[in-house]
Symmetry: C2
Subunit: 424 residues, 2 copies
């Protein structure tokens, strides 16, 4: 019992020390010039390339320890030349983007002569909690650094050696640029209780970003006392409106569902307007079936093809992340909006139509981070938006919505310059 208590106390002390070091580093980092941060990112990329063999050996050790890991988890844990190079290149890409910090977002002068500027500043310290993908260590660490935030990274225990090897390269980059090494810290212990500490360290962590499966993210959102930026679910829709160009609709639907089925922007539900169901439903559904997609449909959809199986109530709320789609007929744009706002996950939804009024109604009323007109939901991606690297897509509305890049990891302050003004 006393040994257990000692362990708990030791972990508590260790986490507090980590938090204090991060807070101290965040002060230097907030004032660090952009070129210093970019130099650190490029030096870290060089270190990753130079230490490729050591990173691979660490990953091999993780894989060897992970004997009973399932296929997809093992796949995510695995590093190879290509993935290691992608991490290095990713850091260089982040370095190439403009510095988000210090930018003046607004500037005005009051009648009394006070000049007021709204200036972008870092959030402070960001805690990243992630599962098996060791590349998150580099990607998330790099984005936090670019945005002037200190990072506390907590990777999955199965990827601990890989993450340590990568974090060592990030530390090398920080050192090379004269920035504090504590700017990017990896939680050294694999004790699961460390996560619980992070979620309560409001004085040392300004925001928590979980990366991983829905159950991890839901648990963190439920338990955290620190604000969370999260991507919970990507239950994305394509609605083919009565005014749709059928050729466009076929291209968009097939791409939205089948280009890659495992990404959060993949469509999971197809809604077809009743007004064109007679002509549009068959080609849309047949395209999907022929591409190897399982279609779960309502009565009208089932009538199209015997391969369609019945949709049930839970399907409308399901993110398959697989070659499966729910499909149904709706009565007009308002019914589509209502269905999507009710069953969707406020992530990404698209309307296909040539009718501008219907499109604008959809774009305004769908309560999602990304709404598209005549384009595939698979564009839901910071890179595709031209925003650079992203740490994920937020399905929240608070603070950050949609793709979360370096700019979304910032706050602002008001800088007021006067010449002795007092308030009457």
């Amino acid at each position: 019992m006393s040994a257990l208590l000692d362990t708990a106390d030791a972990l508590h002390d260790q986490m507090l020390a980590l938090g204090r070091a991060a807070r101290a580093a965040s002060v230097s980092l907030a004032a660090a010039p952009g070129p210093d941060k970019d130099r650190a990112l490029r030096a870290a990329a060089a270190a990753i390339r130079a230490n490729k063999a050591a990173i691979q050996a660490a990953n091999d050790a993780d894989l060897a320890n992970a004997g009973d890991l399932s296929g997809p988890l093992r796949e995510r844990l695995t590093l190879n030349d290509e993935r290691i190079e992608a991490m290095a290149k990713g850091l260089e890409d982040i370095a190439d983007f403009p510095d988000p910090i210090g930018g003046v977002l607004a500037d005005w002068t009051r009648p009394n002569g006070l000049n007021i500027q709204r200036v972008r500043v870092p959030l402070g310290v960001i805690g990243i909690i992630y599962e098996s993908r060791p590349n998150v260590t580099a990607d998330a660490g790099g984005l936090c650094l670019k945005s002037g935030n200190a990072a506390i990274l907590r990777g999955g225990s199965e990827s601990v050696q890989s993450s340590r090897a990568i974090a060592a390269c990030l530390a090398e980059g920080l050192r090379a640029a004269g920035l504090p090494e504590d700017a990017i810290q990896l939680v050294p212990t694999t004790d699961r209780a460390a996560v619980g500490h992070m979620l309560r360290m409001r004085e040392f962590i300004d925001v928590i970003i979980p990366r991983g499966g829905k159950s991890l993210i839901q648990r963190i959102a439920d338990e955290s006392r620190v604000p969370v930026i999260k991507h919970l679910d990507g239950n994305c829709h394509v609605y083919v409106h009565a005014g749709a160009d059928l050729d466009k609709a076929r291209k968009v639907v097939l791409n939205a569902k089948m280009r890659r089925t495992s990404i959060c922007g993949a469509a999971e539900t197809l809604l077809v307007d009743r007004a064109i169901a007679d002509t549009a439903l068959a080609p849309l559904v047949t395209d999907l079936l022929n591409a190897g997609c399982a279609v779960r449909g309502d009565a009208a959809t089932q009538a199209v093809d015997p391969r369609v199986t019945p949709v049930d109530a839970a399907d409308w709320d399901t993110e398959y992340l697989d070659a499966i789609i729910a499909c149904g007929v709706v009565d007009g744009v308002d019914a589509a909006i209502d269905h999507i706002n009710r069953h969707g996950s406020h992530h990404t939804d698209s309307i296909v139509t040539e009718d501008a009024a219907a499109a604008e109604r959809f774009l305004q009323r769908i309560d999602s981070g990304i709404v598209l007109w005549n384009a595939s939901t698979q564009f839901a991606d910071g890179g595709q938006f031209g925003m650079g690297a992203e740490i994920g897509i937020s399905t929240d509305k608070f603070h950050a919505r949609g793709p979360v890049g370096a700019e979304q990891l910032t706050s602002y302050k008001y800088v007021v310059r006067g010449n002795g003004q007092t308030r009457p």
Copy 2:
């Protein structure tokens, strides 16, 4: 026991019904044209003026019931002609401001022809939890309406009749403009457990804003599962740097502390640079003492005047909201920055100096929502910033920092317009 359970269940059902109604109203409100919202605000103002007698009678009843209320609480609870008119005028002022919703924050077109806009949208449903001031009902309800958010207002039980009378006027305004009355709902019960329900209603409330004393706000921040925008503390500083113009410093310090001592932007600590302590400390401290301010000082400050009492460690962390100031000598701008970042509340801090380099260092490194150069901390106010009505000043960095007006009660979405683009 069974009766208790029934009561708890009834409250639970009542709160869920409130949440559902707010969510439904928020959908209409998000799409409501600006002129409709402004018409509702003006009609509500007219209703407040027309029902002045009824509001006053309700307030008299609240005051009669609040027999044992302490002086300041009773003062806050009290309405009179002037305060009722101020509520009406406040709603009209909110109406006069431009609509924050629908504005395009950014607009760009990708090489593939996709046009991307970042558009301002409401957050959804805002829960306001406040104590005795019944005017918050009008102020907060009006700001939520302007920003297209539905509001669930939970006032103090001591002001319930006043708040009901005011809420009836807001409902009249909504009706007059054809907007859903559920857009602004007052929690009908005075059962304290209702607050606990609000803090867990993540599916129906997007953000909680507590207004009141520090202990209320701290408790809500600790317990809430819904994101919180809060103003915890206004422990504001004035630092008189070695390069200060003494006349400016005397004016700024006296105004920052004594103009009004009860507001969050009032200075609570004066730091004077050791380099000028010999000449500056005496006039600065004497001004304060002569204006009726108690000064708690370090040894150097005590040496100035026998009326100065010793400062203790807790003073540096205290928001007095009274005619009291902590005063001490520091060694240079970095020591001042370190003191303020350590003891301050990240609210509002000012440097007085003619040395631009020292000022810019202070403005960059002080981690507060508002940083000033040669100006009084009492300018920490949305109205003084020209931002219009505010619901408070956020001491958080997440989502909203500094004055929280209609614009800070919004989120954004990405609207993407294409012509059939698919992702390669």
